[in-house]
Symmetry: C2
Subunit: 154 residues, 2 copies
């Protein structure tokens, strides 16, 4: 479970931008031949540095024109309530992220929907009917100036 050397970091930086790059090209870019590059890549995957690879879609292009962040405060923090609330959220495809946070609310969720109608339907029909919710506060995304999946690597 050794450390990452500068070549590993270089590889990770490149792979965060070009997830489908051929290992031969990756090898060129980090100054290695194909064999050790493939070995390192496998190690980075096996040791859990790389979780997986994803195609990044253009949300608007595929019919998801609206995004929102919703702060949620629970009224009841009983373990059972919290667990039920969480698993209900996690099951939904349109809830793309769920964070437990500090501050004035308990959870921050990131929702994607086709349009305002779909979003308000989610909020009123689904979210507000979940047990244990005290209040919610929605922030609709007007524009996405940046949305990296990339983790900063010093």
């Amino acid at each position: 479970m050794s450390e990452l050397d500068s070549i590993d970091l270089k590889m990770l930086r490149i792979l965060q931008r070009e997830g489908r790059i051929a290992t031969t090209d990756l090898a060129d870019q980090v100054g290695l031949s194909a064999t050790p590059c493939a070995r390192r890549l496998k190690r980075l995957e096996d040791d859990g540095y790389i979780r997986g690879y994803r195609a990044v879609l253009d949300p608007k292009r595929v019919g998801c024109g609206l995004q929102a962040f919703i702060n949620i405060r629970l009224g009841d923090h009983a373990e059972k309530t919290v667990a039920a609330f969480q698993s209900a959220l996690l099951r939904r495809q349109d809830v793309v992220a769920v964070y437990a946070i500090t501050g004035s609310s308990d959870f921050l969720i990131h929702v994607m929907a086709a349009d305002l109608d779909a979003l308000s339907e989610f909020t009123t029909r689904t979210l507000l009917r979940m047990p244990g919710i005290r209040d919610t506060q929605s922030s609709i995304v007007l524009s996405v100036l940046k949305a990296e999946t990339a983790v900063p690597l010093a």
Copy 2:
């Protein structure tokens, strides 16, 4: 700019999970031979449905143990101030996302840092010294229950 048929959608769904899948395997999974599958994939890329491919790293594993969301309210909405503020944020690697939002604040940003020290340094040394900022409100992420890059595809 034609529509996406059910095979295209299937391909996109698979690619959101397995961004590095071989096109022959993708072809098998959608019931096509390699040639038309590769052609469709190229079209999805060229027409902007697929923005790119990314390796997804484990943040903790690569030294980014702390995430936070920060709501930012500007005091001065002059175009120049807003533009300067935005470009300063966009330049920073540790600011992984920037959204302009509705509601009580103007921007929501997603920050990744090694630890609390690094985060508080960012807030006090960088963020609060930016011109035009009226106030900020940080929510530190206690746990990530879900963080999909995937866009929901009906």
